[in-house]
């Protein structure tokens, strides 16, 4: 554990020695702010229109969460599909390329500790970034009356999603010494999680059920609408666990005869 924290500390401060982290964070927050502004503006226009029509029933159903926060979180999830590979691609690939991998693997630490350290750092980075994006709903709390619980659940979903993404990014980075290959294969896997259920329309059976279970949007959408279900949490935790397990195997494989 101590060794993991040593590595996590090095990694996390390493992110901020590099312009990539700042660029990723800025892009994420600017896009988030843009979505928020655009959706809020649209909400306002709709509100004014229905008010003019004197239709109290529809007005009742216009919901700030549904109209602004939910679509914003869905958009940010897609943005993460592109940004996460940019953050994680370095993690192992760069160490292999520059030779610092030799330092890590000959130090008296376990491969699991190396993987855990890099995971903690990447996850912490995502939590900081998503935490900063939490200022958008705070604005709503200050000026309106949104459902705080639903918003919290949505942000929790985004946090789980981002941590699952970085685990997959660490895995692809552990397979190569080329950052571009690491990033693109991570991007491919993340995108696949969004579309994997497409061929299962109308099908049945164990395999189809499994593929449907793997599909990320359903689990994420649940949390975004405010439903914290253990099944969805278990889904994200298993993604994280499997990806980290494979990463550990991949790092450890350098030691196999």
């Amino acid at each position: 554990m101590k060794n993991s924290l040593t590595i996590a500390g090095k990694e996390l401060s390493g992110y901020f020695l590099q312009p990539v982290a700042y660029v990723v964070m800025t892009v994420f927050l600017l896009l988030g702010g843009f979505f928020f502004f655009a959706l809020l503006r649209y909400f306002e226009v709709t509100l004014t229109a229905y008010s003019a029509m004197q239709n109290p029933e529809v007005l009742q159903r216009l919901n700030l969460n549904e109209r602004v926060i939910e679509p914003m979180l869905h958009n940010l999830a897609i943005v993460l599909v592109i940004l996460v590979p940019a953050i994680t691609m370095r993690s192992f690939a760069e160490e292999k390329r520059t030779g610092t991998y030799e330092l890590l693997l000959t130090a008296p630490i376990r491969t699991g500790e190396i993987v855990a350290g890099k995971f903690i750092a990447a996850a912490a980075f995502m939590l900081i970034m998503i935490g900063l994006a939490g200022m958008f709903p705070l604005i709503l709390v200050a000026f309106g009356n949104p459902e705080v619980g639903v918003m919290f659940s949505g942000y929790l979903g985004l946090a789980f999603l981002s941590i699952a993404f970085v685990s997959i990014g660490l895995f692809t980075s552990s397979l190569t010494q080329n950052q571009i290959i690491a990033a693109i294969s991570c991007f491919g896997l993340l995108l696949l999680l969004f579309v994997i259920s497409w061929p299962t329309q109308g099908g049945g059976g164990a395999l189809v059920d499994l593929v449907r279970y793997l599909s990320l949007p359903d689990h994420f959408a649940q949390m975004v609408t405010g439903i914290i279900d253990t099944r969805d949490i278990v889904y994200f935790l298993s993604l994280i666990f499997v990806a980290l397990f494979l990463t550990q195997r991949s790092v450890e494989s350098a030691r196999w005869r």
Partner: protein, 255 residues
Amino acid sequence: MIEVKNLTKAYGNFVAVRDVSFKAENGSILGFLGPNGAGKTTTMRIITGYMPATAGTVLIDGLDIFSQSLEARRKIGYLPENPPLYLDMRVEAYLRFVAKLRGVPRAKIESALDHVLEVCGLTDMPHRICGQLSKGYRQRVGLAQALIHDPPVLVLDEPTIGLDPRQIHEIRDLIHHLSGNRTVVLSTHILPEVSQICDKVVIIADGRVVLEEYLKKLPAGTSLEDIFLNAITKERHEDGASAEETLEEVGAGHT
């Protein structure tokens, strides 16, 4: 003490190291000599536990680098062929990180840091960014990271490669000075280096050991250069020339 026993390493079908055995006694400096591509780096990577051997084993103070890997690795300081620096870190932060990684107790980190900065001539450099250092200073930082936990065993892969003559001289002095009662294995393809600082020489060519001998036991009047050239040409002509034969031949040529 480092005992290398019958190491063989194959990269796919290509055998880079074949049945290599030698021994570095406590407190001695062993020069691991061989032309480029002979298998020096491969052997050292196996000794330090970076990669596994296809066959054979390595004992570090009696600990097996494969089956007791963590304990064995604790005893080693290692300077790989390319100094393993994080180029955007500052020297000081980098060395502190390695110290923690190598298990130096928190309370001793600062004194260990001051010590290696002093020994490696880096006292003016702690705030410099690794990536902005010259090759010579990178090599010093590489040495400093290998020494920070005061290891009983030191493995240095071509510590003087790419340096200018003055830097070579400095690094050589440094190694000589810091060896103390450590067991040091250093690889090189520069002959004078061995005769100047080593107690023992192991010559390797095409993945095989062609000579293992104490420097003081080399026949008087023979130069290391003759032995080296003879050993590696012999190896090319007929496989398995023994160390005695090699020595005899060179010795005979000089009498």
